[in-house]
Structures are given as structure tokens and as C-alpha cells.
Amino acid sequence: MVALGQFLEVLIGGLMSGVLYSLVALGFVLIFKASGVFNYAQGAMVLLAGLAMVRTLDLLVANGFPPWAAIVLGIGFAAVIMAATAWLIERFVIGPLVNQDGLTLFMSTIGVTFVIEGAAEMIFGSDVYPLRLFPTDAWFVLDGLFPGGILINKLDVWGALIAGILVAGLAIFFQRTKTGRALRAVADDHLAAHSVGIPINWIWFVVWLVAGLVALVAATVWGTKLGVQFSITFLALKALPVLIIGGLTSIPGAIAGGLIVGAGEKIAEVYLGPSVGGGIEYWFAYVLALAVLLVRPQGLFGERIIERI
């Protein structure tokens, strides 16, 4: 019973933290799905959103605002910053590069990464800023069944809840609204989208805005977990195996990929770790991604690429 209890605890903890990876991966998927651009700057956008939010929040609280008002205004201000960023990127980077090769666009997002990271730290500071939006203590459930119960982190539960709402919202947005349809249309064919009167530049702004807002959501959860700091940008690297496993074009794939990576690395760490000296957690996801690449290059949920000859 102890063994089963421990396994469940590891599994649940892994799945929950996996959802947090998914939050970051979602931003990548959105932009890739709607514009074919692999946005290297997604991690930097999480940092920017987090810094804008936490610094505003701290400033307001220091000036005697009630916490709830400071939180609302902080998130609101960060959203405005993300909208401005989206506009600038569309206007000065992606817009002028319309119809260019995917690799060109990818390189441009690397440039954007450095600009965002630099600007964010210059304007908002480069310390570690603690954030307390969600409770970080733990629950112990099922302690009747297992000695000591199963530990579940409340922050992880919040993260999973938020990710769930976000995915449902995005799915509805993509499937049911004309803007969502227009996004998919632009991703498929620029000229055809033009011909039915879809304003491409506006659509690209919307895509980057939505990705920016997803980055903001990720920043609220990850900022609470780690504190808002520069190393949050490395989340982008953790999102890569999630994307490869789930498929770059699939929103459900980003979630499933996150769950697989999260659960996989925790289980591997606990059960395989001792026999190889530990530290599996840091590389297990990449090995998993490599295995998926060998078997299913488009990812578990990606669109199958069929070339007609």
C-alpha cells in the first residue's frame, strides 16, 4: 500500500507539473498554428509579462492599494504591455517579412527574444521578484487509504485548473469564431486569405496578442512557483520536448505532451534515478522527445504530413 501511495503521489505531482509545461507550450502552438512561425521569443514573453505584472503589483501595494485592486491592475497593465509588444512585433518584424521562408521568420524571433529580454530587464529590473497569487501549501488527500495521505500541491491544482479553462477557451475561439477561422485560414494560405477579405496584418496582431496573453497566464503560475526572474525564460527549453511529443500544431497535443513529460520525468526520477545516480529529471524529457521523433515525427497529435506525388 505504501508503494502504491508513493506511486500515485509521484504520478499526480508529475501530471500537475506537466500541465505547467503545457501552459508555456501553448503559446508556441498558437503562433505556429496561425502563422507557421516557430516563436523562439515565447519564453522571453513570459518573462516580460511576469515582470510587468509583479512590478506594477508591488508598486501599487507599496502605495497603499488593497491587494485585490493591485492584482487586477497589475494583470491589466501586463496585458496592455503584451498588446503593445504584439503590435510592435507585427509592425516592425513579422509584417515586413511576409511571404519569407520559415527559417527567416524563426531567426527574426531569436532577435526579438534578445530585444524583449533586454528591454524587460532594463525597464522592470533584473532581481528575483516573489509573487503570491496562488496558495503554495499542500493538501494531503486519501489519508484514510494511505499512511500519511497523498501530497498534492495547491499551486499545481490551480495551474491545472487555469490550463483547462485556457484550453477550452482557445478551442472555442479557434472553432467557433470568425477570427479563429480566419487565423487557421491565414496559416494555410496567405493569398487565399487575402482574396476572401481577411486582413492578414490584423490577424497576425491578434495571434501575437493571444500568445502574449497566454504568456501572461503562464507567468502568473510560474511566477508564483519560482518567483519572477530571468531563469523563467528557460521554460522555453522545457517546452520544446512537450511540443515535439504533442505535435507543433495541436492544442490538445500541447496538453498531452505536457502531461507525458511531467509524469514521465517524475516517475523516471523516483524509480530509475537511484540506479543511475539521479538527475534524470533534467534530461528525460529530451530522450522521450527523441524517441517520439524517431517513430512519429509530426508528434502524437500533429497533422500527418502527406505529400502527393
Binding site: K178, S195, V196
Partner: protein, 261 residues
């Protein structure tokens, strides 16, 4: 119910010149389309036919000349303005949203007609839901009309070429255009598919009164369908008139058969 031939000019292009580097794709082309007619543009390969369509719907901006559409004269058209103004088109090499179903492709043609805001659509709230139903209804009519019920849910990338062309026509029709530009609607089709497409074109013109301009290589089809034919060769308009007049034109015969030197 054939659309009345009012002789009213819907679209006029005057003295259009278009060059890509040293290649003069169009030279001083003047051309018009009357409301309600089926207008054909023919010519040998590389004559500038597609360039002319691209100028009309704003993909290309001419170096000289003016475009008058529904009484408004512009030096250049923007694709967005053209779509707003009621110009829809199809493409020579089929430009569909390949990952989307036939139904969603045609729904995309309704983009400019959707009025309700984003939030209402997401919530599927009253008026937005009613509007969505209305759009779906119109799209289903088009699907019925084009006889593609069976493939509504199929991602169009998987469809054979002839059906893709039909879906593309459906998407253009969903815009409820006043002017429909068809770039080689029958290219690569077999005889039966060509007959179907001809029938659709005639029906669109007569049922909805849609003005149609089309580029086509199949002469039998062109002569059958169209009210007036313009002939381009090397970027110059060499003939313009009824099918019978064009057939007799010496310049046209020379362009197609070559001149004895």
C-alpha cells in the same frame, strides 16, 4: 432568370501597364466588364491574363492606369478593398485552406459578412447563434448547389483536384460577390467535370445575377459560355467583342496559329 443586360459598366480598367523588372506583363490595356455578363479573357500562355485579374483584385499594383469599380476610380486596388467591394476570385492553382474541411473553407468566405462580436460568438449567445445559423444555412445552400454534400467534412487537402476547384468556387460564392473572377476554372479537368463546371458558371450567372470574368483555355467552353471575349497577347489587348467577332479577327488567328514570315 437571366440577369438583365443593362450595359451598365461595373468595372473599367484604363490604360493599365504593369512591368516586373524588364518584363512588360501588361501594356496599355483598356478593358471593361458590364453588369450581369459573362466575360472571358483568353490568350496564349504568358499573355498577361492572370496579371490582369491580379490587378483587378489588388494583388498586383499597376505602374500606370486607373481602375474604376462601381463608380469609384483608383490608381490601385487593395485585396481587402476588392473583397469588401464584392469581388471574389478563384486561383489557377487552387488556393484553399488545406487543413480545413470543405465546409470550413466555404464558411471562411463568409468572413466579411459576420457582424457579431468575438465574445458573443464564443458564448454562442442569442443573436450571434442566430447569425451563425444564418451563415451555415447560406453555406449549406451553396454546398447543395455545387453538389458536394458528401465531402463537407473532408479536409480539402485530401480531395481530388476537380472537387478542390469546386470547393474553391463555393468559397468565392459564399462571399455573395457582385463580380466573380475565375482563373482557369476548368484547367486539368476531364470532360464530365468541365461540363459540370460550365453548368455551375451559367447557373451562378443566371440565378444570382453575378457578373463573371473568367480566364479559360478551352475554346469550345469559352465560346459557349461567354457574352464577350477579350484577347490578350504579349500584354496587349488584340481583340475584344462577341465570340463570333473574336473568332473572325485576323490578329487572334495570328496570335494563336503564328504568322507566316
Amino acid at each position: 432568370m437571366r440577369a438583365p443586360d443593362t450595359n451598365e459598366i461595373m468595372l473599367q480598367v484604363d490604360g493599365i501597364a504593369l512591368a516586373f523588372g524588364g518584363v512588360r506583363a501588361l501594356r496599355d490595356v483598356t478593358f471593361n466588364i458590364r453588369r450581369g455578363e459573362i466575360r472571358a479573357i483568353i490568350g496564349p500562355n504568358g499573355a498577361g491574363k492572370t496579371s490582369l485579374l491580379n490587378v483587378v483584385n489588388g494583388f498586383y499594383h499597376p505602374n500606370h492606369g486607373a481602375i474604376t469599380f462601381k463608380g469609384r476610380t483608383r490608381a490601385r486596388m487593395q485585396p481587402f478593398e476588392a473583397a469588401r467591394g464584392g469581388i471574389a476570385r478563384t486561383f489557377q492553382n487552387v488556393a484553399l485552406f488545406k487543413g480545413m474541411s470543405a465546409l470550413d473553407n466555404i464558411m471562411a468566405g463568409r468572413t466579411l459578412k459576420v457582424r457579431r462580436g468575438l465574445l458573443w460568438q464564443m458564448l454562442r449567445y442569442g443573436p450571434a447563434l442566430a447569425e451563425e445559423r444564418e451563415h451555415r444555412h447560406r453555406v449549406e445552400e451553396i454546398i447543395d448547389f455545387l453538389e458536394i454534400e458528401a465531402i463537407r467534412k473532408v479536409p480539402v487537402g485530401r480531395l481530388p483536384y476537380g472537387l478542390q476547384k469546386r470547393v474553391e468556387l463555393g468559397r468565392a460564392l459564399a462571399m455573395e460577390p457582385d463580380l466573380l473572377l475565375l482563373d482557369e476554372p476548368m484547367a486539368g479537368m476531364n470532360l464530365e467535370e468541365k461540363e459540370d463546371m460550365s453548368r455551375f458558371i451559367i447557373d451562378v450567372n443566371s440565378h444570382y445575377g453575378t457578373t463573371i470574368a473568367l480566364i479559360e483555355h478551352d475554346m469550345a467552353v469559352v465560346m459557349d459560355l461567354s457574352d464577350r471575349v477579350a484577347v490578350l497577347d504579349h500584354g496587349i489587348k488584340i481583340a475584344d467583342g462577341t465570340p463570333d467577332e473574336v473568332k473572325k479577327s485576323q490578329a487572334v488567328i495570328e496570335a494563336y496559329l503564328g504568322v507566316a514570315h
